[in-house]
Symmetry: C2
Subunit: 258 residues, 2 copies
């Protein structure tokens, strides 16, 4: 299979590597920025391209993996006739690709991709969608080559999956970063928290998160929460986050008990 990648960010990079490792050919990498295109193309033995006019017309799959706000613009400038084209966004609907080709869809790998760390693609859920059942089946068959965990979702379900991932992944990572800042003020090492973070993630692999919630909010430990808010009195941003998340823990606890 011959694949053209449009985009050079984290998702494009990891997808390119994964297809390559699965024995497929990435023939071109397009980016508005030649340096970015060249950098990724180089690792994939592909040709870097900055002009859409230079895209080869006969690839088996065109993957659009750019920022969400760039998808519509890019799509409006692409004409791929009956070639298969997908975007990789969790939030943008499938309809953004209407008019690009008669075969279009979505190929959304649900994972946090950083350039510094490679990932094991076999376990990553890939949500697929196609403009017809046949196109969906085709995209699914391609996704099956990378992952054991392919699922068909419509655009609304995929959007919910994406936002839930923002809560479960992006926001949690940010809480780790805030915790690190707090520790550093007291010259404490972030290493102290690493076993705790590992255990927190480990625990929900087999359990329902609400059922293993710990901490002052869920046990109604008002005096600890007051002490913490006092400690955060000069940090309005952290104080507000502490208050809102603690209240949300109490609310969820009441929903599940009541």
């Amino acid at each position: 299979m011959k694949i053209v990648l449009l985009g050079s960010g984290n998702v494009a990079t990891h997808l390119g590597r994964a297809f390559k490792m699965a024995g497929q050919t990435v023939s071109q990498v397009w980016s508005r920025n030649l340096l970015h295109a060249a950098e990724l193309a180089d690792t994939l033995a592909a040709e870097p391209v900055t002009d859409l006019f230079d895209l080869e017309p006969d690839a088996d799959l065109y993957i659009i993996s750019v920022k969400d706000e760039g998808i519509a613009d890019l799509a409006s400038r692409l004409k791929l006739n009956d070639k298969l084209v997908v975007h990789t966004s969790g939030t943008t609907g499938i309809s953004a690709l209407e008019g690009v080709s008669s075969k279009f869809g979505v190929f959304y790998p649900l994972q946090t991709f950083s350039k510094v760390k490679s990932v094991e693609f076999r376990q990553i859920p890939i949500a697929v969608e196609g403009n017809t059942p046949e196109v969906c089946a085709l995209i699914r068959s391609i996704a099956d080559r990378l992952s054991e965990n392919v699922i068909e979702l419509d655009s609304e379900q995929r959007r919910t999956l994406h936002i839930s991932a923002v809560f479960a992944c992006n926001f949690t990572n940010h809480l780790f970063a805030l915790a690190k800042e707090l520790l550093e003020e007291q010259k404490l090492d972030f290493d102290l928290l690493r076993p705790l973070i590992a255990e927190t993630a480990e625990k929900i692999q087999m359990n329902d998160p609400a059922s293993v919630q710990t901490g002052p909010a869920v046990r109604g430990d008002v005096s600890t929460m007051s002490a913490h808010l006092e400690l955060l009195r000069n940090k309005p941003e952290l104080k507000l986050i502490y208050e809102k998340l603690s209240q949300s823990i109490v609310n969820l606890h009441q929903r599940s008990v009541g």
Copy 2:
């Protein structure tokens, strides 16, 4: 070593088990609630006690592991002369135990303890403090039997460690729970997020969390954030959490870039 446990919650339970596995004797478990005392005492081959008057006077270590707001009250009713007594709280200062004994301190294991899951104690950081250097050394020597990761912290440092753990553990677990609720509304399984959560925690074992932050906020993807907020329009609690955490990601990113 003969140990008396005062308290029967998650921390008391896991500490009791850990001491037992390290070959120590837990002779008594005190709780205001006899059923709770009996339940834990039973698993430790200890005697359940509900009257403080029945505490044996000659144990080597008395561990107070009750809710923070209960520590001062319990301490005011205890007279242990020169016996070693510690509490296990992250937030309560060492001074709460003044007057209980001439040897007092803190023994704070930093981990999320749920009754449903056992933990490997050897890796858990234990923060210790004593009312004198000798008492601190004594408490440290006891902690060393359970963990390879013992650290001496004063009460202020320990409070910071605790609050950072609330952010990194309690709040993150709650975000997992919120994500699960979002998925369930669309009949999507929480299993979809489990690999992502595992990878998020795994990634910061070797990296600085701010350096591996992903998601719409850190890449300034305004259109995705708008779409998410639109999706949350009827969920004011989640919408506010989304806004505040996204803004906080942007702020931290600017702090670290600037």
